[in-house]
């Protein structure tokens, strides 16, 4: 044994070589992710920007007519962008309260035995492939929506009937899909709230529910906001499930209109597109990418702020 070696395993003289090799491998692996992100960003910008200038930035981003294959094509994606924003916002509006309440139930209210049933169910929900959500949407949600649509718009001559494939269906599917993300992260945030906060609140005479809403939830605020932001990211990036239930026509994002999201716009037309049409689809990808980057930056800022407040 050479004195240089500090390994708990015996030295065969190859130790420093192994150490170096391992270091190199780890570094390469570490940079792999960076390389992937950098190249994707570069690729999206290179392939997404030409169309912006060919068609005109304003014409693409604020045009309302999407006719990519017409004799005089028109590439307005305003309705598509609005649909993604409104659809995601509504999904958050529905999904977050349910998700946070479920997290409160799991972390604060539920007896151990019930937690052991609900939590695996939530985890399973996260594991279900998105296409399954879409299929369920087509089989259950769409016919149901069509019945409501027929009732609401009975006798209407201006409404275009969609057979239940509309914004609401897509929003409901999205709301369901973000639940696991919101629940899991909110629950860990709630569990991380120090026990003495609860005790203090209870000692002051607050009821259990008052304690949850006035002491625990505010204390877990940054974690819950993280949950919301991650949920938004999941909702805005989802394609498969909503492409099955949203109808995929480019329309104003009204509740009973058939709508197209940024993701489904790319998915549905990529296969047959060519030339400028394809380039515009990449531009849509770039817009989506920009949205997701924005969400991630917001998330990072929030996390940093959270850490700072903890440090104080």
């Amino acid at each position: 044994m050479r004195p240089k070696s500090y390994s708990i395993f015996g030295g065969h003289g190859s130790k420093s070589g192994v150490e170096h090799a391992a270091e190199v491998i780890f570094t390469v692996c570490g940079f792999f992710a960076v390389l992937a992100v950098a190249s994707i960003t570069l690729y999206m910008i290179i392939s997404g920007t030409p169309a912006l200038f060919k068609v005109g930035i304003l014409d693409i981003l604020f045009g309302t007519i999407w006719m990519p294959a017409a004799a005089t094509p028109s590439f307005g994606i305003l309705y598509v962008i609005l649909t993604s924003i409104i659809g995601t916002a509504l999904a958050i509006l529905i999904g977050v309260p349910i998700g946070v309440m479920t997290a409160v139930f799991l972390a604060e209210v539920a007896p151990e035995r019930l937690t052991n049933i609900v939590r695996p169910a939530v985890e399973l929900l996260a594991g279900i492939p998105s296409v399954i959500y879409g299929l369920l949407g087509i089989l259950i949600l769409n016919p149901l929506m069509y019945k409501i649509e027929l009732k609401i718009f009975a006798g209407s001559t201006t409404h275009q009937f969609t057979g239940g494939a509309n914004l609401i269906s897509a929003v409901l599917v999205l709301a369901l899909m973000i639940l696991p993300t919101v629940i899991n992260i909110s629950e860990s945030a709630l569990r991380a709230v120090p026990q003495h906060l609860r005790s203090a609140s209870l000692a002051l005479g607050a009821t259990k529910i008052q304690t949850i809403f006035s002491a625990v939830l505010p204390a877990a605020k940054s974690g819950i906001i993280t949950a919301i932001v991650l949920g938004t990211g999941r909702a805005i990036g989802e394609a498969m499930a909503i492409s099955l239930v949203s109808g995929s026509s480019v329309n104003m994002p009204l509740p009973f209109n058939s709508v197209r999201f940024l993701t489904t716009a790319i998915v549905s037309e990529m296969s047959y597109s060519a030339g400028l049409h394809k380039q515009v689809l990449f531009t849509i990808g770039l817009v989506l990418f920009a949205f997701i980057m924005l969400i991630n930056i917001t998330l990072n800022n929030l996390l940093k702020k959270g850490e700072e407040s903890h440090d104080k």
């Binding site: 395993f9 999407w66 006719m67 990519p68 294959a69 017409a70 004799a71 087509i138 089989l139 769409n142 016919p143 069509y146 027929l150 718009f153 001559t157 275009q160 009937f161 969609t162 057979g163 239940g164 494939a165 492409s243 099955l244 109808g247 995929s248 026509s249 480019v250 058939s258 197209r260 998915v267 549905s268 037309e269 296969s271 047959y272 597109s273 060519a274 049409h277």
Partner: protein, 306 residues
């Protein structure tokens, strides 16, 4: 123990890598060998021509390139055809450009292309310039609805009115009081292009659902009361109601007879008859009209012409 584990892991990794390289080399060898044997066979058959049949002889001796210009609707068919043909005759290249039917016929008329692809019949003035209309396949589109629909026949005008949004309820067509759910394909789809062209509804259709596959249209039409959609003929089944158009069923027989209006010929126009063409072009048409060619035509969802 732990160190052994790492060693085993490293060894396994090495083994996998080695196998991968070996497998890679193996397939590469096979690939490079294959053309060699083929050329050998070619030269031997060329020199000892009486031993081989005439057909094989021409097959191996064909060399050169064929240029096709024309219809974008025929892109799927033309691409498939050129790929299969080039695989069969490795020293032949088929170049296909997709610029539109009119431009394709123009190119074959002035001799800049061997074949002009056209997804419509030739006009009389085009034929007058000596261009021969060789119909290689027929594209047919079926109109489907949900199985419970009581309407089973539509006229061309009725179909146009449904798709441009003028007719919105089945009761206007003698059916139940039920709104029409108009289903179509996404922009850029060949079926959509053909459908809109045939009904002269280019970019005038008001779809409530734009689905991105034939299967999705079938599923949606089958499950939505009051739906109407269009699909290529080969996918029709009992889950949907197939509409008669002008009282004609969409069968290959009716389409060939020309009585079903939602169909169009795929023409590969040549300057002069096929018999006047080069051996290459003749071989291409021989292939299209062979059984193998017919299977290819069916495989891309079309009806063989003969």
């Amino acid at each position: 123990m732990k160190k052994n584990y790492i060693k085993v892991l490293a060894l396994a990794g090495m083994a996998i890598l080695t196998m991968g390289t070996l497998a890679g080399c193996g397939s590469k060898n096979a690939e490079t060998q294959a053309p060699d044997t083929k050329t050998e066979a070619g030269t031997t058959s060329g020199t000892t021509a009486n031993e081989t049949t005439a057909k094989e002889d021409t097959a191996t001796n064909l060399k050169g390139s064929i240029s096709m210009v024309g219809s974008t609707s025929m892109e799927k068919f033309a691409t498939a055809l050129s790929e299969v043909f080039m695989e069969k005759y490795p020293s032949v290249t088929v170049q296909a450009e997709f610029v539109g039917s009119g431009a394709g016929i123009e190119a074959v008329t002035n001799g800049s292309a061997d074949i002009g692809n056209s997804s419509r019949n030739l006009k009389d003035e085009e034929k007058a310039k000596g261009v021969a209309e060789n119909i290689v396949a027929i594209d047919g589109i079926a109109v489907v609805s949900d199985p419970a629909n009581t309407v089973d026949n539509l006229t061309k005008d009725q179909l146009i009115n449904i798709y441009n949004g003028t007719t919105t309820n089945w009761k206007e067509l003698g059916g139940a009081d039920q709104p029409i759910v108009v289903i179509g394909r996404e922009a850029g789809s060949g079926t959509r292009t053909a459908f809109e062209e045939l009904l002269k509804l280019e970019d005038a259709c008001k779809y409530s659902n734009e689905l991105d596959s034939t299967g999705a249209v079938m599923a949606k039409a089958a499950s939505t009361p009051g739906s109407i959609g269009y699909v290529s003929l080969d996918v029709l089944d009992d889950t949907v109601k197939t509409m008669k158009l002008e009282s004609v069923e969409p069968t290959p027989e009716n389409i060939k007879a020309g009585s079903y209006f939602l169909s169009r010929p795929f023409v590969m126009a040549t300057k002069g008859e096929i018999s006047e063409q080069s051996d290459l072009v003749k071989a291409l048409f021989d292939y299209i009209y062979s059984d193998e060619g017919k299977d290819l035509v069916k495989a891309v969802g079309l009806i063989p012409a003969n």
